[in-house]
């Protein structure tokens, strides 16, 4: 079920009414309702996928309980191994099996050896990368003795499948989300209102920003061989906004919906395109995944404690793994590698934690420099996004070559319509003005902002062809 679908428009109020009116003050009943609702929500795509999620839930529930009972180190390692093998095994099979087989065949073919590889007709279960990482964090935290396992299967299953964030995050940590299932939830007006604001803002980002950009992105990337440099650059800028609107829009809606049920989810995006360098960008983009990799991969690898080369190695590992997490295609690996390259100069000069404060702009030289650094960081991310969007490295490379061929014709203006100018101006203005606030529709003039967002939704939103969220495929 998609957040921007008609079914969800009926589903959400139904669950909300049952949750707050029928099962009010009944914690267990509310958790059961959330679990059932989450299974319905997930099973709406394909009920067969439910078996995987139930299996994953059962394994980690069992492993969690056994880990608590076991003090013996080798047995604990075995249990952790069981969880890692089962979860990563399922992820690996469904997401990467065909990729590895094909890459193996291609690698031999490149030296003239013909191999027969059997690929399978595998459908990638929606959100498998997200819930796998979420359940893994539970087991690892218990293994590290940072978390007590839950005794209640219902609570744990509701935590794994919590429908607002099940298919595209934020990837929650058990230590943050799970305890919320134990506590009695009381309806909070401010929390619910901010939830509504976030849902609305997320919907705007998805159906107005992302879907409007998608039209031009598809056209430009589909015809890149015949277009001039500026148009191609514009295509990558549109894709930057498409993926941002799509993914952060989903996250905002997820956080907003969770708030309607009295839950607090972690922030996943913090205006990443206002970053002053790549390190800051990665602190602001897909925060739940970046911090997951930091805590469960980077730090166990030694983090920044070793020498410079160890830091460089770990950085490259993190970015490559992050790229690969996004999809079974070499383009994602190159995208990760490119981001690691961008990051490298900052790391070597020890400047990867320079921009931690808020952005202040005035009418002075320093502000001009800040603005320039924001623009250059944005441009770098746009160029990297080309690999993310293109179907192959060959296409991405040629796309970039064409950008740097410095050709120009008037075609570029065909892709800059009055509507695009209006929606971008509104969007960027609101994001910039609220860059220190996680909820752009809250605060001053909220009623005016809400009315304008609705106007934009109705006038520019894409309602007739429902587009899936890009990150569902990851």
């Amino acid at each position: 079920m998609l957040f921007n679908s008609l079914e969800f428009l009926l589903f959400l109020p139904t669950v909300f009414v049952l949750y707050w009116f029928v099962f009010k003050n009944q914690l267990r009943a509310q958790n059961i309702l959330l679990l059932v609702a989450s299974y319905v929500f997930y099973g709406w795509w394909d009920w067969r996928f439910l078996s995987l999620i139930v299996l994953s839930t059962a394994i980690d529930y069992f492993v969690g309980l056994q880990l608590e009972k076991t003090a013996q180190s080798s047995k604990r390692k075995l249990l952790l191994g069981l969880s890692l093998t089962a979860n990563l095994g399922m992820l690996g099979f469904f997401k990467y099996f065909n990729f590895f087989v094909q890459s193996w065949v291609d690698a031999w073919a490149s030296i003239g050896v013909t191999m027969q590889g059997t690929t399978l007709e595998i459908i990638l279960p929606v959100g498998i990368s997200f819930y796998t990482f979420q359940t893994l964090s539970y087991t690892i935290d218990i293994y590290r003795k940072q978390l007590q396992p839950t005794k209640s299967f219902i609570d744990f299953a509701a935590f794994v499948t919590f429908f607002p964030q099940l298919v595209a995050g934020p990837i929650e940590r058990a230590s943050h989300l799970l305890p919320q299932f134990y506590k009695k939830r009381i309806f909070n007006y401010d929390q619910a209102v901010s939830g509504i604001h976030l849902i609305l803002w997320g919907l705007f980002k998805k159906v107005v920003i992302a879907d409007s950009c998608a039209i031009y992105v598809n056209e430009i990337f589909g015809n890149y061989e015949n277009l001039d440099s500026l148009t191609l650059l514009l295509g990558s800028v549109y894709f930057a906004f498409q993926i941002y609107g799509d993914f952060s829009g989903y996250s905002d809606m997820a956080i907003g919906i969770a708030r309607l049920f009295g839950f607090d989810l972690m922030r996943n995006f913090n205006y990443p395109y206002f970053s002053r360098d790549i390190a800051e960008f990665w602190r602001r983009w897909h925060i739940s995944l970046s911090t997951w990799f930091r805590d469960y991969v980077y730090i166990p690898l030694g983090g920044s404690k070793g020498g410079v080369w160890m830091q460089v190695r770990n950085t490259f590992i993190i970015f490559l793994v992050s790229g690969f997490w996004h999809g079974a295609n070499w383009t994602f690996l190159v995208w990760g590698f490119l981001n690691a390259l961008y990051f490298l100069p900052l790391l070597l000069r020890g400047k990867n934690r320079t921009h931690l404060g808020t952005i202040q702009l005035g009418w002075d030289f320093q502000s001009a420099r800040t603005l320039l650094s924001i623009l250059s960081t944005f441009l770098l991310t746009c160029l990297a996004w080309v690999f993310f969007r293109a179907d192959s490295i060959y296409i991405a490379w040629n796309y970039l070559l064409n950008i740097f061929s410095f050709t120009f014709d008037k075609n570029v203006f065909n892709y800059i319509t009055k509507s695009i100018i209006i929606i971008f101006s509104f969007f960027l203005f609101l994001e910039w003005k609220n860059r220190n606030n996680s909820n752009p529709l809250s605060g001053k003039y909220q009623l005016i902002k809400i009315i304008l967002v609705f106007l934009m939704l109705v006038l520019f939103g894409n309602f007739y062809e429902i587009n899936e969220f890009i990150y569902f495929q990851f």
Partner: protein
Amino acid sequence: MFKFIKYVLLILVLIYFFLTVFQFFSDKGYKKSSNTVFQDWSNILEGNVNADLLIVGSSRAYFGYDPIVFEDKLHCKSFNLGYSAAGYDLQIEKLKMYLKRNKKPKYIIQNVDLAFFNEDKLIPNENELIPFLNDSLVKNLLSKYNKNYNFINRIPLLKYNKRFNQLMDGLQSNFDNNHLSKQYFTSSGYHPVDLNFKIDQNNLTRLKKIKAKDLKFEDKIDELIKYYKDQFNSDTSIYFVWAPEHHERLKKEYQIEKELIFDYLYQKLENEKSIVFINLCVDPISFNDDNFFDTFHFNRKGANKFSHKLVEYLINESIN
């Protein structure tokens, strides 16, 4: 909780109000934009046309019959109900909509041409109808071709979704209509075109492939005759008119197929008293490029000449 519900309701009411206001003024702007296709639709739907002579047909009717000429010569109120890019179904659909809200005319000129036999798979010039979507006749027509129209008008302003320029044009039309594109201007439903002739090679190439039997013209002609006979009594005179074709289209390779249609029309109308077929396909007007803007349509000059010619024909016909 009730405070929250109140807040949500307040937002919904406010939004509903603002969206309705925008829609209201945009629709109103179109309705009052004089001498435009929008005002024509508005008049049709509000029953303000009530013409004595009605011209029905495709773009050949829309661009080719000047009602003012008919009005001057025949001294009866005339209106062009031509529907650009419409085939049989939509031409008749528009006539039905007209008849539901306006009085029956005394004369109907049904333009017949090859476009008449086209299948209507889409609604052409959909944006002409958008301001009137709240009217049940328009909604029913549009939803036949696109199911989304069944719910679009339940949410105010949604009908202008992805039509931002149209919304702005409508709002501006409350003050004047100079900003509207030339394509929307009409005179009693007729759209004069001030362009010089330019050959439309693509259409001619396409025309070569058209075979009369593929058009299933017999069925459509039978259906048309039946419709007019059922709908009108002897108080209404009906003329099927084949207007002059450009000389390029009179070349043998295009003409053979048309002859089959003419023969069938003559044969079917042989004993009909209230329906007359006037075939002006080959006419001196055909041989002057100055009368056309492409090989299918008259320009203003051609439309004027042809309208005079037809009106003379009708006068003679009524005397005889």
